[in-house]
Amino acid sequence: MMTRILAVLPFYGGSLPVGRHCARALRDIGCLVEVFEAPEFYGAFQALKGLKVNGGRLEFLENSYLNLVGEAVLAQVERFQPDLVLALAQAPLSRKTLKRLKHDGVPTAMWFVEDYRLFAYWRAFAPFYDLFAVIQKEPFLGELAAQGVENALYLPMAALPELYRPLRGGANCQAGECGPADALSPAERRDFGADLSFMGAGYPNRRLAFRELGRELAGRDFRIWGTEWEGEPLLEPHLRMKGVRITPEQSVRIFNAAKINLNLHSSVKAEETVSRGDFVNPRTFEVAACGAFQLVDERLLLPEMFEPDELATFSSLDDLKAKVDYYLAHPAERAALAARGRARVLREHTYQARLRRLLDFAAERLPGWPRSRQAAPWPAGLPESLTSELEALAEKLQLPRLGWGPAGGTGFDTLIAALRQHSGRLSGLESALLFLDEWKKQYIK
């Protein structure tokens, strides 16, 4: 039986694409996945703020709405019967909802893809999850244990190679790496290309660093993409697309088109331009997965993920400036590093690998997980013409071949669950299958 996962997305924010990548990767590794689309509930939540009522009243309304959203998650759980509810940081799972899930025997996991020092609220909910995956090691893992979190897992960020991929015509693209359909158009090369490019939000340390960099790199083509860059007249000439939020697909183009992608981890402390923190951000893996070149600030956990010949790092702003000059002058070295970095990501740092690890961890730590389901067999004696139609349907739904015998393959229940997720108009056969499922509930006990 396929393991069923319900991925609960946050309303918005940086962990939203992470959640979508998780869902995609879980499907790739053979899980049956449903997604709780919290962003679709966010509009109504925002509307409450437009009421301009007093703070207490607003808080009451917001909490009431969050309760409703929690009930919606529970309803989806009740129908889908997942083996695991996977929440991303900031997912709308209240403690009340988590308690209900525990009471109902539904295991929960959170991938807390945040810096625990900045998001200290983790203490309020971490103990309510059965599994708690984090992107930092000590002292966070010790803090979690002290807070009563038994099953904490270090699970660093990753890239989704199907999205973050090399594009033909990219500044560091290797021949033969990219398919004919995946190319940067001349217009895209013009719009997204740069000597030095940065994609991300305007955190205080980045503002300070880039102001200095902008002065030093006068004459270089330095471009900044992303949000929260307001109030920086010195950086204004470098900012592209008026500081709007960049979509993942746009970021693939930006990474590919730049000769050098600057990757400076965020810090709320302006004076720490290069903060030497521990966790490694998603951009590190994404740029590398694109086969693009990056200069990334040194991080405590980076060396165990990439060898020095797989990724170019810098330790200070002076070091950065020197390396920008060096690598702009040595395109072959850029390309070689980028290629090795991409190979490492594909070997070890994909979402598929991370989620496989998470599921293995669940199996290690949660007794009897995943629980075995009574696989409903396919009805015996189906005509051959129908079995071939069913095989074609399984293929269309991206399911493994049908399992006609007692072991393995897609069973009746799995096909039905996949069919229920399917959007759009049902065919005659699909309707007949759903009909049979209901018929069995009514007549075959």
């Binding site: 009805p379 139609e389 065919s427 309707s431 007949a432 759903l434 018929w439 509930k441």
Partner: protein
């Protein structure tokens, strides 16, 4: 080239009674185009007789064996055939998951009633309203018959008077005792046993009608499951009556049953599919309704029918799946001597009143459908005023305001009644 008339599909996978109660909607659509009917395969032969112009699409839903492979193989073919049709509209009459699965293969915007949209079951405002007006504790004032509820899926259904012929006996009652001349059908049981009279009760009723009709031939009707009931009934019947009894239980196919019912002068029945068939054929019905059966919800459609309704306040909802906590208190009125006297045609008797009360109802029409008027018994046993207000509200909703009241002036409707029919969401949200 004249334009080809549109095709409509009605999805009605329920049992025989519901199938026949689809008639007003089906006839309404037949005025505009060709009507297809997706129905349980076990009812196809009968449906061919009841709806001769409809194109039937038998589905393996309830009847037949319990072989899933066969169900899938047969239905996959039938569904594929339906999917190829270009229906102008699909009328899905039930929220049943089977019907929803079938409706799921059509564009949701073309499905009227209960639809499946992106895997989510959705009900029209009209269907949601019906759920409210006939909800728990509200059924005694439920305002609309099921036939009319479905008919109003259409914005301008066929006039109720044109649905079934007015009921009348085919043969006159012989005045000479023992000569009979008439044929009385006795339906032994409905699907829910608590809705039927036990044999010892039924025997007295049959004898009373036997006397009133001067000794007609009596046909016992039912499926094979009712054969034991027929034998029990016979044990309780008076010898003179028994001589005129012919037990057809378990001996008729559905087409045979159709023919037999058509030959009757009167049918005595609980709330059954046979009752609706009799109404369809214009055979007068004398029905006894108790337990969860309510005349104004599923009574015989058309003029010339009588329903004896037992009403016990405080029972609603009557859950037939559980033992009755009141020892089926709605049953004893059917053994009351006064009622048996009325049935046997002697005037001057009184019906049992109080709680439970027995009411004599006769079918009638207004501009939205069939209704039932109390002709005997304590009308006060029913929340008539509430029911009238609900029906008035529905009339407004259906743009059939009807005649003004006797006073002629405008009258308000109680807030509680409005709340039982209309919900905030009806005016705040889009249909579906």
């Amino acid at each position: 080239m004249p334009e080809k008339p549109p095709d409509f599909l009605i999805v009605q996978l329920a049992r025989i009674g519901d199938l026949i109660q689809t008639k007003r909607l089906l006839l309404s659509l037949e005025r505009e185009g060709r009507v297809h009917l997706a129905l349980d395969a076990g009812l196809a032969e009968l449906a061919g007789l009841v709806f001769p112009r409809a194109v039937l699409h038998p589905i393996r839903a309830h009847a037949g064996g319990r072989n899933p492979a066969e169900v899938l193989a047969v239905n996959a073919g039938a569904f594929a055939g339906l999917a190829e049709m270009n229906f102008k509209a699909i009328y899905n009459l039930n929220r049943n998951p089977l019907a929803l699965a079938l409706a799921g293969m059509f564009p949701p915007e073309s499905v009227v009633g209960y639809r499946l949209e992106q895997g989510q079951a959705l009900s029209s405002t009209w269907c949601k309203m019906a759920g409210r007006w006939s909800g728990a504790g509200r059924r005694l004032s439920s305002p609309l018959n099921l036939t009319d509820f479905w008919a109003w899926f259409h914005p301008d259904p066929l006039a109720p008077t044109l649905v079934n012929p007015a009921a009348r006996a085919k043969n006159v009652v012989e005045t000479t005792p023992g000569k009979g001349g008439q044929r009385l059908g006795v339906v032994l049981a409905g699907r829910e046993p608590r809705r039927s009279l036990p044999p010892e009760y039924l025997a007295r009723v049959v004898e009373a009608l036997f006397a009133a009709r001067k000794g007609p031939e009596i046909l016992l009707l039912g499926s094979r499951d009712e054969q034991a009931g027929a034998r029990k009934l016979s044990k309780y019947l008076d010898g003179r009556v028994l001589q005129k009894v012919r037990d057809l239980s378990g001996k008729t196919s559905l087409p045979d049953f159709y023919e037999v019912v058509g030959s009757l002068d009167l049918m005595l029945t609980p709330d059954t599919g046979g009752m609706h068939l009799a109404a369809h054929l214009g055979v007068p019905v004398v029905a006894f309704f108790l337990s969860s059966a309510l005349a104004w919800e599923t009574g015989p459609y058309g003029l010339g029918h009588t329903v004896w309704q037992s009403v016990r306040r405080g029972c609603s909802p009557c859950l037939e799946t559980e033992p009755c906590p009141y020892k089926t208190a709605c049953l004893p009125p059917f053994a009351a001597p006064g009622w048996l006297t009325v049935l046997s045609g002697r005037a001057g008797a009184a019906l049992p009143g109080g709680d439970p009360a027995l009411l004599g109802l006769e079918s009638c029409f207004d501009d939205i459908g069939v209704d039932y008027r109390v002709f005997l018994g304590e009308a006060s046993a029913l929340p008539q005023a509430r029911r009238c207000q609900k029906r008035r509200l529905l009339r407004e909703f259906l743009r059939r305001p009807g005649q003004p009241g006797k006073s002629g002036g405008p009258a308000g409707i109680d807030e509680a009644v409005i709340n039982e029919v209309i919900s905030e969401a009806d005016w705040m949200l889009r249909e579906y």
